[in-house]
Symmetry: C2
Subunit: 262 residues, 2 copies
């Protein structure tokens, strides 16, 4: 296998930073599961990097994935453990990672769908939480994630990992403002619902075919903007024993309920 070049090694290190990911239009997915999920979804990496010393379990599986990549003309490089760990964001690496081109999704095309379930995420700062939302969005067939400014990057290493492959299925739009989202949804006649403590029981609402759920992050919740505009508040009934639900859990409950009644 060709050895990883110094230039590629430098690129990989840079991809830990959001700025570099955006400049280069690339992101990293670590581990055999993500590579497998990508190939299964027909999303092909630009290149794959392995480190033989770090591969402990699943050598046969990784070998099979590399063969599949080669048959698709995807370059595979061998890195020494120093270079690999510089590129990796995990402590216990499986010795395989793949670099993907950042997809360019078309929001207007998406909004043409007659049936639509969007998640609008506000103040979601934790990459693990972001990844879990991607995972659940894929599980429950959400059509896209609209991320407001201040949200963590969905292409962050940890978010990609936590998405368990959801990142290969769900279109993500970054760095939006609440004003632009409100206008976009309004023009496209997508109904926005925000979760809160008042409002109708979320399980008793008849959601229209084109629905968006606005979910606030763990610490801050949604920005005041949403309270000042025409969005419908729904609540997931809960006790007051603990502070409000984890954002990913709230999103999952809404998406699951909507998906099963489709």
């Amino acid at each position: 296998m060709e050895k990883l070049s110094k230039a590629k090694s430098k690129e990989l290190r840079a991809l830990k930073l959001r700025k570099s990911r955006e400049e280069l239009g690339l992101y990293v997915a670590e581990g055999a599961l993500l590579l497998e999920e990508a190939l299964r979804a027909g999303v092909f990496p630009r290149y794959v990097v392995t480190c033989d010393e770090l591969i402990e379990g699943g050598r046969d599986k990784i070998g099979g994935l590399l063969n599949k990549c080669r048959s698709e003309q995807i370059e595979c490089f061998a890195a020494d453990s120093g270079d690999f760990m510089n590129a990796s964001d995990t402590v216990n690496s499986q010795g395989v990672l793949a670099v993907f081109g950042m997809p360019a999704y078309d929001l207007s095309a998406l909004l043409d769908k007659p049936r639509l379930t969007l998640l609008v995420l506000d103040n979601v700062r934790d990459p693990g939480n972001m990844g879990t939302m991607l995972r659940q969005a894929a599980a429950f067939d959400s059509d896209g994630l609209l991320l407001l400014k201040g949200c963590v990057d969905a292409f962050n290493h940890k978010a990609v990992r936590a998405s368990m492959g959801g990142v290969f299925h769900v279109p993500v739009f970054h760095e939006l403002t609440p004003e632009s989202v409100m206008e976009t949804l309004g023009n496209a006649a997508v109904w926005p619902y925000v979760t809160g403590t008042r409002g109708k029981n979320a399980f008793e609402v008849s959601y229209p075919p084109r629905t968006a759920f606005i979910i606030g992050g763990e610490t801050e919740g949604v920005q005041p903007f949403w309270g000042e505009h025409q969005v419908i508040e729904v609540s997931i009934p809960q006790t007051d024993k603990v502070e409000s639900l984890n954002a990913a859990v709230a999103a999952s409950i809404l998406l699951a309920y909507r998906y099963q009644s489709r």
Copy 2:
């Protein structure tokens, strides 16, 4: 404030291990939020330890919590940062932790309730996941968690932290066998439902007043035992884009749906 003794410092270190927690009947909850939630729930720690050097934000809040503890005759000790970090499981400690007596819950008393929602957890190995389940169990008023042998300890530092205080509200029973759980549920006429890929849409089931949800852990799912016995399989409809749902998410969806229709 009295200085933390060498004996207490040793005890705190030991409490990182499940074996010691069980022997001593104690567990640790780190951070101001958990102490606050405990006091709010009327669950008083045996003692509290602070480390002045490590307290960065929330000094007033922590001071208020300590005053409240003292007014309840709860001892508060000052630790140096070395002793504190030896006791702590976090990298960025807030400089406050509390030691609680492990509660002894009575399963038969619990089973006398006319309405009951139990979670039976099988192969849940991740402490973060376990803690999230405790959190959601508290949020959605589950009456108890029955943990089968092989599950991670719910009093593990990380699980306690992730529970966001749920640990102070939800009775937990450890180290059960599927045979004993099945017998207990059967004798008490609690209906067991297991989540799977077949079975009726979980949102379309009329759950009886006394219901138990059996949830399998992330990697292995539930043990074959449940498939061989009289449990009803229900499914949370989902796409096949990603592998099965996170166990904590599946539990949350079932509990939330049941709670809102109570």
